[in-house]
Symmetry: D2
Subunit: 195 residues, 4 copies
């Protein structure tokens, strides 16, 4: 297990993807031990670490990051999490192409992530998934439309709201304030070839 307190030992640079959204990604696509994943951009490496914990030593996560400062940060976090052999931080601009082939899952948390979708289509296995993490609805729309144009299928678009509860001697109730929004998750899928 990678305990919740371990995350506090990692350095936090750019915005990170929270556990609730990582959980939705893992569960929706059925990610499992041994899978092959491409992630971009690495940012602080949070999502790459989450995915690396799941795919394990028989799996692989390639996390693209063109900004040298973020790449260095992500690399250190990956090492601290003990995933140096599983997660590779690649100093490369994902908009220039994806090296990997037969990938199970591609996760995109980038401003113009829809521009990666033709390359994502080429890199994915049949039935594989690409997921866009988009704070704004307009980004969701561009992502889904560009995906359809690139030959991908729309699987689902979802947002997850977690509500914390206070369970105390004086009574049970949800916490007053909470996280109302992080991002929308858009799942696209490479169709199986028809024979």
């Amino acid at each position: 297990m990678f305990y919740p307190e371990n995350w506090k030992k990692l350095k936090r640079g750019p915005q990170v993807i929270l556990w609730k959204d990582a959980g939705t990604i893992i569960s929706t696509v059925g990610l499992q031990s041994g899978d092959s994943v491409v992630d971009a951009g690495a940012g602080s490496g949070w999502l790459a670490i989450r995915l690396g914990l799941i795919v394990g030593e028989k799996g692989k996560v390639a996390s693209y990051e063109w900004r040298e400062d973020f790449a260095g940060l992500a690399e250190k976090n990956v090492a601290k999490a003990g995933l140096g052999k599983i997660v590779e931080v690649k100093r490369k601009n994902v908009f220039e192409g994806i090296d990997e082939k037969d990938v199970d899952l591609i996760t995109l948390d980038l401003a113009d992530s829809e521009k990666v979708l033709p390359a994502a289509h080429a890199a994915l296995k049949e039935k594989g998934f690409v997921v866009g993490y988009s704070p704004n609805v307009e980004q969701v729309r561009r992502f889904v439309e560009a995906g359809l144009a690139a030959g991908l299928e729309q699987f689902r678009v979802v947002e997850t709201i977690e509500r914390e509860w206070l369970v105390r001697p004086q009574g049970c109730r949800p916490a007053t304030m909470g996280l109302m929004h992080t991002a929308f998750l858009s799942f696209l899928r490479k169709p199986a070839r028809k024979e």
Copy 2:
């Protein structure tokens, strides 16, 4: 990857734990490839399969089920999911004890799951988690109170709401009807010994 359509090939008997809740469990505790898990009751085996996909061949899931019909169903589903070597369906009443030791995670989806908590405490590793899946608030309260009495710490109680979005040429909007509630997830934790 264990594709979404694969679940449709499994048989569905008793109520199953949905992906959204499995995702919250996996993400909150930091479950990873190689972990050791106890699950009760197996029911249709859904959650045991979800957890087995994550822990992989270096890990282990023991799923307790005292009802012969459910145990048979869960066992068939586990085999169909290709996890026969990872997930063991145990024909045993978990209220009579947990055989495993040094367990990372225990998941309980039972009517009186709070009665398992002393045994769960004994079976868990230090810092390990036990999660209760409870549809009603009264169950949450009993679970948390029994856990505190058994020497466990309250980590978080949470509910997850997923909202599906329709992204179409005519516009983007959430779906009209949806799943408002499955269950509350109560996370308890075995404290580390003070030295």
Copy 3:
């Protein structure tokens, strides 16, 4: 009081605005007994009736509806609700203009409601509100942008989710399925003149 069962005696043609959204409108703007309201389109007359109940005999609701069939339906519903002297169903296309002046509140539930905003600005009192009821996010955006262009201020955009609870001897829990979305409510406001 206009009891919940009374609504069942009214005829239901086009989609109606639900109580939760009517409640948000009334509460946000501070609608009170005696206010003057313009509503378009009338549809089945539901929202006009809700508003008429609040403004009472000292107030006034003018509800525009250019489709003869809907106007007839709304008129019958208004009469059944006993609001014939308060709510006037006007057989007129609101896109051609608003007759009323010094209006406190204008509610718009129309496909292209943003086109009414210049006329709404002219009809409103200073500090008065115009509310758009929009199922899709793109409509919200067009509405807000057209409002700003027409000299209105953006007050708030909000969606309301009501969750029903089951309170029974066996326990308390939210209902499993429920209404996840009706529409977004966009509140624009006519600014007070600077002196």
Copy 4:
């Protein structure tokens, strides 16, 4: 209209009931101009003012408050809101009885509000509503059970979540943080006599 900025001119002592919950109450019961309401405790007078705005000069709101400091505060707020002739702040402990008869609506925001329910039953019109405002689920349960014991019917228990949206040139998205919980609203109803 009682403009949103007017609330800022009122003094705020004890916790106030927010617009979203006032809106749900008004809409669910069908409150209208001319109705008769009992409210307890007055607190800062917020809800009494909301209800007074709706019932208007032909209606009446009696708001009970036994704490002299709160009663004074509520009275000043009511006067500032211009509702001195509609809302009466009564310096009386509602647990000792309700003076009014044939009341349309009773709103209870008190620690042990279930103890008022027999008196509420006696004060209500047939088909009239009593609403409990309860932060904790345990309070909801006690309220509903005491209501059934007092001869009232369970109408609905509901919670309302409002989500604010940011609509900006760079895109549309919900606000990151927000109000996750205020209270549960339990609606009980006095049945019509069977003839």
